[in-house]
Structure formats: structure tokens, C-alpha cells
């Protein structure tokens, strides 16, 4: 927003009209206010002389909105929970046809209210996983996917490798922390669900800890 520029410069000899007088008092415009109308809630940093913007001058949450949640209590999932799910890296997968089998993970899920339309939202997540799925052409493994409002976020799939080879479990060597980030563009104001979800055809999947962070920038 520019500084106030009084629209009608009146000098000696000018005929002082009621219209020009009124315009100098108040010209409500959607942009570039150019009259004393600006004091009706339109003042901003352009109207300041050299001012040090300190935290107390800005309303809380007006620059960034960010939240993070996590969990550290093991969560156990058994393959019965996921119906006929077959992970996408095995033979005859059903993963892409069974996205409804993905279950939101408590502690890696957030419902947020965005106060304004956001040009982008940054989502960061991580999950630590262990399981007893076997290797081979029909490898049994967990898969993680990120969802927003029930729709999977493109490219945010994390397949976990098998942990059992020839009946020997290698979980100590194979366990991983799976992490990711995604910048989701053009998010509308309102309520949104963002969550990491799991589906697995491994007999037993144990999630040991995880977290999700959502960061939104505001500003004009």
C-alpha cells in the first residue's frame, strides 16, 4: 500500500468544489487509498517512519502458522486389518486399487484450519517402522502414503523393504526412518486433513515413532 497522496492539490485561485473537498477526505478504493480514508483500517508498514518491527507489534500467528505432532508409543498393525491389500512392489499388486485400505496413523495426522488461502503449505513427516514381512516375488511389506483430505499426495509413497529372508529376520539391519517433505500449492482456506497412512500385507507391522509438521506462510 502506498503512502497517502491527497488526490486534489488545491492552490490559490482554484475553485473549491464540494466534490474535490470530499475526495480529499474520503475516497474508498480497493487499492492505493489516496485520501484520509486510509486511517479506516488501511494503515500499514508503508505509513511508518523508520520503525523496528518487534514481536509484540504483530499478532500471534500472523506471519506463519505451523503445527507439529508426533508419537513415541509403538503402534501394532496386523495384515487382517488391510483386507486383501497387496503392496505395489510385489507380484499382482492391488495397492493402487485399494487406497481406501490405507489407515491414518495416529500421531502423524493433523486437522488444521487455514485462516486464508495459502500459496503453498510445507509438510514434513517421518516414521520409524519394523515388520516381519518376507522377501521374494510376493514380498510382504508395509507401504506409507501421504494424504490430504482423503486424496493421496502425488509422489509421496514410501515402500518399506522386506525384513525376513529365508526365515531369518533382519529387522535390526533393515529398519529405517522414512521421511519426506512436500510443498502443496494453492491450498484454499478452511479445514484440511493432512496425514500419513499405512497399509501392509506383512503379518505384523510395528510403528515405533513418527511425526508430522505443517508450516504455512502468511503475508500480503
Amino acid at each position: 500500500m502506498p503512502n497517502i497522496t491527497i488526490p486534489n492539490n488545491q492552490a490559490d485561485g482554484d475553485v473549491l468544489s464540494s466534490q474535490s473537498f470530499e475526495e480529499n477526505l474520503c475516497v474508498p478504493l480497493a487499492s492505493s487509498p489516496a485520501s484520509l480514508e486510509v486511517i479506516n483500517g488501511e494503515l500499514d508498514d508503508d505509513n511508518l517512519e523508520s520503525v523496528l518491527l518487534t514481536r509484540d507489534l504483530v499478532q500471534r500467528g500472523e506471519l506463519f502458522q505451523g503445527e507439529q505432532v508426533g508419537f513415541s508409543v509403538p503402534l501394532d498393525y496386523f495384515s487382517d486389518l488391510f483386507g486383501g491389500f497387496v503392496n505395489g512392489d510385489a507380484a499382482s499388486p492391488t495397492e493402487n486399487d485399494n487406497l481406501e485400505e490405507f489407515r491414518p496413523i495416529p500421531g502423524v495426522a493433523r486437522t488444521l484450519h487455514f485462516r486464508w488461502d495459502a500459496p503453498w503449505v510445507l509438510v514434513l513427516f517421518r516414521i520409524f517402522c519394523n515388520h516381519d514381512g518376507s522377501h521374494g516375488a510376493s514380498a510382504k511389506t508395509p507401504v506409507f502414503r501421504l494424504f490430504m483430505d482423503g486424496t493421496q499426495v502425488s509422489g509421496q509413497r514410501r515402500p518399506v523393504p522386506p525384513h525376513v529372508y529365508n526365515s531369518i529376520r533382519y529387522s535390526a539391519a533393515m529398519q529405517r526412518e522414512w521421511s519426506g517433505h512436500v510443498m502443496i500449492e494453492n491450498v484454499t482456506r478452511g479445514w484440511h486433513d493432512i496425514y500419513l497412512a499405512v497399509a501392509s500385507d506383512a503379518p505384523h507391522t510395528r510403528l515405533l515413532n513418527g511425526a508430522i509438521a505443517v508450516i504455512l506462510p502468511w503475508g500480503s
Binding site: D44, V182, E185
Partner: protein, 247 residues
């Protein structure tokens, strides 16, 4: 403080004197001082954005089940099987520096890369070692050359699955299956005006990879190109341009 000269009864008004009343307001309101601002007065509508749109849409490459491979020949652009590169070219290549317009304090670059396998195709069982490394880093482009983004390099080893206790047959089968490299590699870089010489712009950011064998005891500081093949799948990258300045 806004001071307006009072208009007394009987004063003659003319255009100049009336306009003078407005200009006094104008000057005062255009230069509000610190004391004029109440606690919590500013909302996001009053503030400049803390991010700058440099035309750098996030990039995702790769699809499920399709790998793209790399050898030990040196740093290579990561690109999926369709040729889509893990690279972002800002449509408005930014200068970096608070004194420039727009003032950009720095670029934060984030990338995640799914590593599928690393193996020596000629010696899949014998050439397996924690000293076999897959290396990754971020680079930026000034229009002529690519340069490493400081602190972005990352390496992961072709680690073994407890070979001291596992039966030999199990290890052999395990190694032949070669999936254990399967990891997610997160990369992060921060580019500031200290990294970008004055007058240059950031015309591109990309992720590259390499693989090889670290010399014993070198902790990866010296290594040689071997016969390793590196397989990657999905990857994505984002750039955040942090704003600082007046415009």
C-alpha cells in the same frame, strides 16, 4: 502528533488554507512513529510476505516400480526413466542479498530421494561392503557452471545385514536379492549471498548422485569409482525463497 491550526470564527477560507489542513494530516499519517503502534496492531495483511515467488514450482519425478540407474562415472543429474530431471529452474532467477530488490535472504532447498538398490552387477555377492557408497548432493547453476550447495552432500553405505551371525546361504540369497539399500535420502541446502557472487543469479537447482568405494579408513573422504550400479525411484524437490527487505 498531528497539529492542525485551528480555524476561528471569521477566518476567511480559501483553497490553500483548506488544502493545508489535509497536508498536515497527510504528512503525519505517512510517518507514524513507533509509539503510534499498539501491541498486536499488525496482521498479515499489513506485512510484506516472508516468501518471494521466484517461479520455482516444486518438482516430483519417478513412478512406482520404475527405476532409473546411475554408474560410478561421476556426478550425474538425477532424472527418471522419462527423462524428467530432479531440477528446478526458477522463472525469475533470483539475486540473493538483503540490499537487492526483491530482498531475498536465502534459498532453502529440500529434496527427498528414494534409493532402491546399489550393487556390482559383475560381482553381486563378493563385492558388497559398507565401504560401497552412494553419494548425493545439491548444486546450483549461474547460467554457466554448476556449483555444490554447501553442506548438502550426503552418502549412504551398502551396509550388510549382520554377516557375522547369519548363515552363509542366507547371506548369499539376501545379497542377490539386493533390496536392502532401500532407503529414503533427505537432502537439504541453504544458499545465501555468501555463496552466490554479486551480479550472479540462481538460474537452476538440481540434485546429483554418484557411487563408488571408499578407501579403507577414509570415512568416504577418498574413494574410487568401481563397478557399482545405483538404482533410484521416486524423488521430489522444493525451493523456499526467504524474503527480507522492503519490496
Amino acid at each position: 502528533m498531528i497539529s492542525i491550526v485551528k480555524i476561528d470564527d471569521g477566518d476567511v477560507l480559501n483553497a490553500t488554507s483548506v488544502y493545508g489542513k489535509f497536508s498536515a494530516f497527510q504528512s503525519a499519517i505517512n510517518e507514524l512513529d513507533q509509539k503510534s503502534i499498539g501491541p498486536g496492531a499488525f496482521q498479515h495483511q499489513h506485512m510484506p510476505a516472508f516468501m518471494v515467488d521466484i517461479g520455482a514450482a516444486p518438482k516430483t519425478i519417478g513412478t512406482n516400480g520404475v527405476v532409473h540407474t546411475y554408474d560410478a562415472s561421476g556426478w550425474q543429474q538425477i532424472a527418471d526413466s522419462t527423462g524428467a530431471q530432479l531440477r528446478i529452474n526458477p522463472s525469475t532467477p533470483p539475486h540473493l542479498g538483503m540490499s537487492l530488490t526483491p530482498g531475498i535472504w536465502g534459498l532453502v532447498i529440500l529434496a527427498n530421494i528414494e534409493v532402491w538398490k546399489m550393487y556390482d552387477a559383475a560381482n553381486p555377492v563378493t563385492n558388497t561392503s559398507a565401504q560401497n557408497l552412494a553419494l548425493f548432493r545439491l548444486e546450483w547453476y549461474n547460467g554457466t557452471t554448476w556449483a555444490e550447495i554447501p553442506s548438502s552432500p550426503c552418502s549412504i553405505s551398502q551396509d550388510l545385514a549382520d554377516p557375522g551371525t547369519a548363515p552363509v546361504l542366507a547371506i548369499a540369497t539376501f545379497l542377490l536379492d539386493q533390496p536392502r539399500m532401500q532407503k529414503d535420502v533427505p537432502l537439504m541446502g541453504y544458499l545465501t549471498d555468501a555463496d552466490v557472487p554479486s551480479g550472479e543469479t540462481v538460474q537452476g537447482v538440481r540434485a546429483v548422485c554418484n557411487c563408488g568405494t571408499a578407501a579403507t579408513g577414509s570415512h568416504g573422504s577418498t574413494w574410487t569409482a568401481g563397478q557399482e550400479t545405483l538404482e533410484l525411484k521416486r524423488a521430489n524437490m522444493s525451493i523456499l525463497a526467504l524474503h527480507a527487505g522492503d519490496s
